[in-house]
């Protein structure tokens, strides 16, 4: 009996956290989305959201997030796979993670210099006769920097799921005559799909909210939903409209979570059966 109470006691902070920092903030956002600047109850924020300005914003925001996620995955999966093959894989993984420890803002700041008009990339292009190109403040620079920032967060979950993969399954597939591609698409990828999904979750949604990179690298040319929320909360001080955009972001988030959700039963039984 005494052990039961201690067990419950251990769990209290976790449950308090859920109520206070998961449930309450969402409820507050939803509540505030129904108020205008002067504190009157209104549905105008929602009507506003469906004007062409905000719809365009939403679409472009999703397009950028898709591009960023796609390129991150394209680079991260092979990297994670090859990392699991190296001899000191934990050390190499650590080396991949080190850049993610360097402050996000510092890395973004570096690209202001690198992509700048007199920076090394332009010097390089000059050598090949391309002439000076405006790289900073373009869509390209925005996507590139975002991919750069997110790569470690995609590699880590994929590496973890690849590392958990029983190597004898790959040997078995090879012994049974499967080609490298078949082995990859029928054995490796399905068994590591949860890592991929976790990676996509970790990249796609934050991509919608990268207001800092848009400000510093994309020169306010790219406006994401995140930029809009920051604008409404901290500049215009219109918490109601900001909350409304946030409500839609949360809805999108739930949809994405459902799509990339890990089906508990299938996933765990796969793991257990090994």
């Amino acid at each position: 009996m005494q052990t039961k109470t201690t067990k419950a006691f251990y769990l209290i902070p976790y449950y308090v956290w859920i109520v206070l920092f998961v449930v309450a903030p969402i409820a507050l956002i939803a509540y505030y989305s129904f108020f205008d600047l002067s504190g009157n109850f209104t549905l105008d924020n929602y009507l506003n959201f469906f004007t062409s300005v905000y719809l365009k914003l939403t679409l472009s925001s999703f397009w950028y997030a898709f591009l960023i996620t796609f390129f991150t995955l394209l680079i991260a999966y092979p990297t994670a796979y090859l990392l699991t093959k190296t001899r000191h894989k934990q050390l190499w993984l650590l080396l991949i993670i080190i850049p993610s420890w360097i402050n996000l803002l510092l890395k973004t700041y570096a690209f202001i210099g690198i992509f700048g008009l007199y920076g090394p990339v332009n010097a390089f292009l000059n050598v090949f006769g391309f002439g000076e190109t405006q790289i900073l403040f373009t869509d390209f620079s925005f996507v590139f920097v975002a991919v750069y920032i997110f790569i470690p967060f995609m590699i880590l979950p994929i590496f973890n799921s690849l590392d958990k993969l029983n190597p004898s399954l790959i040997d078995a597939s090879r012994d049974l005559g499967a080609s490298s591609w078949t082995t990859f698409s029928k054995v490796i990828l399905p068994l590591t799909i949860n890592g991929v999904k976790a990676g996509i979750q970790a990249v796609f949604i934050p991509s919608l909210s990268l207001f800092m990179i848009t400000r510093l690298i994309a020169g306010n040319k790219v406006i994401t939903l995140g930029t809009a929320i920051e604008q409404q909360f901290l500049v215009t001080q219109n918490w109601g409209m900001g909350s409304t955009i946030a409500v839609f972001l949360i809805i999108f988030m739930v949809i994405i979570m459902i799509i990339t959700g890990q089906r508990d039963k299938g996933a765990t039984s796969n793991g257990k059966n090994k």
């Binding site: 507050l28 360097i102 402050n103 946030a246």
Partner: protein, 267 residues
């Protein structure tokens, strides 16, 4: 065989080069006596001297580290017990809903977290500053810890616990002598991920920081918006060295801790 491993090495090398170039670029120009990141004039320590003579900047650096260590530590403790609670939960639908709630903050956009925490702190009257930043960092680190620890717990064979119980271990013994040692790699991973997230966070902090308190990210953001200052480069040099020392330390600690347990995982 030979061929694939060569192209594999080339690919990995390329990824590493791209990952490290911006950081090394920053550090390289931190020694530039010229005022820009475009042409290197001559070697100088003046930007480092500027960092160390700027007490405000040093305070911000210390604040950042304190918030990161403290929030990661508290989040790890809460998260580990939370995940143990989740794993031993009998009611499956309850467990699933708790897990979904756990993941909300991970998939939530930073801006939404920041905005909603701002509303929350204003509503319950927490003064914006150190407290609000620390609480926010703990809050968004907990689910990361849970996600790092949970797979280790699920990997654990439940017969291990049954065996321990059969041999007369108390619940406390099972926790400290069976479960915790087994999930130690997950706990370490969770702690360091939380540290990473805290050091790296900008958006949430930006919302809840108020006027008096600042972390490195927020400070660099306002510095970078005004243009290129090589003080930021010097700062990044310092941050990089400290990070490297931390990582090397972490590596040796985790290697040492691994041997007795890690042997069990035959690879």
């Amino acid at each position: 065989m030979e061929k694939t491993s060569k192209s594999a090495k080339f690919y990995l090398a390329l990824v590493f080069i791209v990952l490290y170039t911006p950081i090394l670029y920053l550090i390289f120009y931190s020694f530039n006596s010229g005022g820009s990141m475009n042409s290197f004039e001559s070697f100088t320590w003046e930007h480092y001297a500027a960092v160390f003579s700027d007490t405000r900047l040093i305070m911000i650096l210390i604040n950042t580290v304190i918030v990161a260590l403290l929030s990661a530590l508290i989040a790890t403790i809460i998260g580990v017990f939370g995940s143990i609670g989740i794993v031993f939960m009998r009611n499956k639908s309850l467990r699933r809903s708790i897990l979904s709630l756990n993941n909300v903050l991970i998939v939530s956009p930073d801006v939404v977290i920041g905005a909603s925490f701002l509303i929350l702190f204003t509503a319950i009257g927490v003064k914006l500053g150190f407290a609000s930043v620390l609480i926010s960092h703990i809050a968004f680190s907990i689910p990361i810890v849970v996600l790092m620890v949970l797979p280790k717990l699920q990997e654990m064979n439940s017969t291990l616990i049954d065996a321990a119980a059969d041999l007369g271990a108390t619940k406390r013994d099972i926790l400290t002598r069976v479960i915790i040692p087994f999930i130690k790699p997950g706990i370490f991973a969770g702690f360091f991920m939380a540290l990473t997230y805290s050091l790296d966070d900008f958006a949430v902090t930006f919302f809840v920081t108020g006027n008096g308190f600042s972390t490195l990210s927020v400070e660099i953001y306002s510095m970078a918006r005004t243009g290129i200052t090589l003080t930021i480069n010097a700062l990044s040099g310092i941050v990089f060295i400290v990070t490297l020392l931390l990582v090397v330390g972490y590596y040796f600690v985790s290697q040492r801790g691994k041997n007795p347990v890690g042997m069990g995982v035959r690879k």
